[in-house]
Symmetry: none
Subunit: 221 residues, 4 copies
DNA sequence: GATGAATGAGGTTTCATTCAT
DNA sequence: GATGAATGAAACCTCATTCAT
């Protein structure tokens, strides 16, 4: 799967500091206002470049958004990747995964807000398809491979479909991510569990989620 | 928790037929264009009323949106409720739940699209809180109560927290809902599982999800 | 000069309490929001009548406004009239006038706010002319007559034109009225004099204005 | 007191010719229609610029209005200032003042109409305060200083308060201004005095007002 | 490469007035 | 006499994108 790029060539020629600044200012604006209400002229001004130059770097507002989104997701991706390639057993990995997501979500909440945003974007199906491919293919591969290995080594129940179980696992982790970062999901979390994630040490959450996942994967093994 | 209303009194005095029409036209517009891009003037025109009257019924665009959202969610709520109050065991209920959600999502995809939209709404925290309360409290109560009963009758592992497990269950079901209705989630589903939900008979999905949930709840019981 | 009426016949047939209520609610709305921003539907609702009935009473928003304005001005007019017809000398009358205006402005600030509003109304010249005639003719007659009498009895300088001097006197009194009731004039008063009329006992103001008027009228007599 | 600005930086960077044109077109619209009924889109179109650019220059309709108002008042201010700094005695100054105001009012009636409008503005008290400060502080300082000097040199009655007398003087002059420019005040002037200011050579008016002011200031000196 | 002035379509919301009942 | 549902024009303001310099 080729990495598609959503910026113009000129953006690559800019110096790294500027590139980073533009994306971080963009992430700030998109995550706080939402895609529609974010203002690309404001992003340009806050990043200290002219709007004209911004359009030399990105063809449209949407391209800037996607580039910002990928930038944020890549950082998170790397952390998850390093966990999954280790030699740990699936459940050890699962615990590390959960704890990493708690930490990362608190630290990089803006990245997750953008990810939440993309999931309700109304664009052409083709566009959505391309973006999902960008964002989801790497992580899904990691999960699926890992589960496949666990299956081969007999660590999990033998009748599970690794791809569907990967998705289920991801659902649970994504819910957790959103609970830490997005207002609606935080509130939903509080309504269901009585826990305000901002004031919790997360141990109960980690323990229970781990229990849920562990059971789901290993029952009747 | 009192039902809050997001329409003006005048709306209650309107014909039932008109009320229904306005909400359904509104749902159509909001779910296809998204909240920001939806156009109230278009909704009014398509519903055959003047924009002035629309504003006699709803104080703001946001109020109309929330009223549409609640209308859709209530319908789904009732279906889920009837399942949960039956005498079935938890796993039987789970299966019915999953199958009902598959069916409903296909039939009422617009309602789910609106629900997806609300989760990335950027309003004041108080506003978000009120809406989440409106939408989530009923269903969460159903889930939590049901799990609590299963716990009391020894049908599930005794060390689970019913509220957190209710949330985890809901996460999985919501993912399924979105996979049937929202472009991004459908694509994500395809990337993970290789299945296009539109062309599948869903049996594999139901079976695997049921397996996942069953294990999660009953392991080591 | 015939009293022109700005309401329909139906209004006269309404009972007195209702008439009074409508006008007072109207005055409240017009004086707080200004003519353009005042909302006749809101006035009807607050007065407890339907908007349909309101239009049975008044042909237009403007007619309602003028009727409200006249209602307020009449009350003030009566107080001023009783002063001017007394046997007092001009300067005694002037002092009573000033003190009465201070008191009345504080008590009936809404009436004065409407009067302030009318002076910047943009209607047809004919309309303006008719309204000014309504409002100004009585008071101007009182002032002019009084000054004419003082002139005849030799109480004031003999070379003054009673009509122009009446206008000058009115200017000073109107400034005082506005200073007590309208934000801009209050602020202007503070900038010029350093006095906040809301926190002053007015004695210095009364004394100085009286000095100004006394001198103006009697110099070189 | 610092000069506050009510336009954005971009407006300063525009051509002088364009700046002048926008303000004059704006004054024309505001003074003929009144603040509420004036239409910014019309102003932009008549000034030959897009509405978008208009909002690059002024953040709100109100800011444009205030900028127009200040532009007009500054021009009048300069004329008055040059009179007050001369070596003339107070009464000579007063006469010049009156004659200048007659002339200017006829020539720049639109400026005065805007000034009349502002005095019934319904905004927040803070906003009103800032605008009054902007408009009134310079002229009040001129009047007060001049009267103070006359007081020191014994040209006027020694028991007058220069600040209050400055306000009284201003009241009379403002009435004159409005009589020349605003429909309601012109009509009021006619009702009181019998004079139509449009058809008068003003000599009687000037003479009588001067008499009034002269007496007021110098009685019993 | 870099600027930023300029565009203008488009959307939410208000409210005076009418009229069928 | 009394109601209040219904109308719809009109105005403020936003912002993605272009292009001359």
């Amino acid at each position: 799967m080729l990495e598609k790029k959503y910026h113009k060539d000129a953006f690559e020629r800019a110096d790294d500091e500027r590139k980073k600044l533009i994306l971080e200012i963009g992430i700030e604006e998109f995550s706080s206002k939402g895609y529609e209400s974010a203002n690309i002229n404001v992003i340009a001004k806050n990043a200290g470049i002219s709007i004209g130059l911004m359009y030399k770097y990105f063809a449209t507002k949407e391209d800037l958004f996607i580039t910002c989104l990928k930038y944020g997701m890549d950082i998170l991706e790397k952390a998850l990747y390093s966990i999954m390639v280790s030699d740990d057993k699936l459940l050890v990995k699962a615990e590390k995964l959960i704890r990493t997501i708690c930490m990362h979500s608190k630290k990089h909440s803006n990245y997750i807000k953008m990810y939440n945003e993309i999931s309700s974007e109304k664009s052409s199906v083709d566009r959505i398809r391309a973006i999902a491919e960008e964002i989801e293919s790497k992580r899904s591969t990691i999960y699926i491979t890992t589960i496949g290995q666990a299956l081969a080594s007999g660590d999990v129940r033998c009748d599970l479909d690794p791809r569907l179980f990967a998705l289920f696992l991801d659902s649970l982790l994504t819910t957790l991510q959103f609970a830490f970062t997005c207002d609606y999901y935080r509130e939903k979390f509080r309504i269901y569990t009585g826990i305000d994630v901002n004031e919790s040490d997360n141990e109960q959450i980690v323990t229970q989620l781990l229990k849920f996942v562990e059971s789901a994967f290993t029952y009747g093994k």
